[in-house]
């Protein structure tokens, strides 16, 4: 059990779970009252979570640099596209 728990992967999982609960609370009317601000924060949090899944779970962190650059470029494009479309109604 110690082998499973005392790893960076486990720390990342715990952090992701905590941030997920934070996002859920913001989407449930707790925290930020402005819908647009809360929406942007929720989207940004989801993108940060995705980056951690890519870097730690999918091991992009230890992969050739081009793979990290490619996934970061996709993530940046996705973020710009989603947030701009969300805000510009």
């Amino acid at each position: 059990m110690t082998e499973l728990l005392q790893t960076r992967t486990t720390a990342v999982w715990a952090a992701l779970a905590g941030v997920t609960v934070l996002s859920w609370a913001m989407g449930s009317g707790m925290g930020i009252s402005d819908v647009e601000t809360a929406g942007v924060v929720i989207l940004l949090i989801s993108l940060v979570k995705v980056r951690f899944v890519l870097s730690d779970f999918m091991e992009v962190r230890t992969a050739p640099l081009w793979l990290g650059r490619a996934t970061d470029a996709w993530l940046a494009a996705l973020g710009i596209m989603m947030i701009s479309r969300f805000l510009i109604g």
Partner: protein
């Protein structure tokens, strides 16, 4: 795979490990994953585009979703991904027994995810919210449905991975196959993270 760099990556507390930079799994799985990411990005854009044209309608329909079930499923997905990542590490150390347990635990999470989704969909249909109800529910069933197909395929891959690591010590190509399967499963987790934000949370506050 050609090593292009060497660095220290502390995978386990107090046990730094030398790693050569290499692609996890086969290059082919990353090409597939890239295509899937771009396809889903298009779906995410379409959802937000249609939402922008009918914000009030989307917000009203979205309010019928149970955010608690969405949260539960997200935690199940994250936990399954953590177990798979841990299983890959155990497999690389030839700890097949622990790796198999991790992969089977991830399949358990996937099964629980499917049960929660079935309960959720059943409730929505019983309440009269079907795919033809409005644009929000069309996206909801389409996106979650396509994702569920990924969950089913991924669960089969995980079961196969569990059988492989249990059976024998892994050869180089078997380890790569395990990494490829794991990478696919993390994609399933990654896509759900964005779907949870878009379908359940954004616009509700």
């Amino acid at each position: 795979m050609t090593a292009v760099d060497v660095r220290t990556a502390p995978d386990t507390a107090g046990q730094p490990e030398r790693h050569r930079r290499k692609i996890p799994g086969e290059v082919g799985i990353w090409m597939f994953i890239g295509g899937d990411m771009i396809s889903f990005s298009f779906l995410f854009f379409l959802f937000l585009h249609y939402r922008a044209n009918d914000t009030a309608g989307f917000t009203a329909s979205q309010a019928h979703l149970d955010q608690n079930l969405g949260l539960l499923n997200t935690l199940l997905m994250l936990t399954s991904s953590w177990l798979v990542a841990s299983g890959v590490r155990f497999a690389a150390r030839q700890r097949g027994d622990l790796a198999a347990r991790c992969f089977l635990g991830a399949v358990g999470c996937a099964a629980a995810f499917a049960v929660v989704k079935a309960v959720e969909w059943g409730g929505k249909v019983a309440d009269g919210h079907t795919m033809s109800s409005d644009e929000f529910f069309m996206f909801y069933y389409c996106c979650a449905g396509i994702h569920m197909i990924h969950v089913v395929i991924g669960s089969g891959v995980l079961l196969s991975m569990a059988a492989t690591v249990r059976r024998s010590k892994l050869a180089g190509n078997e380890q790569r196959n395990i990494e490829s399967g794991a990478t696919f499963w993390h994609l399933v987790d990654l896509l759900w993270i964005v779907l949870f934000a878009l379908l359940y949370l954004v616009g509700q506050s």
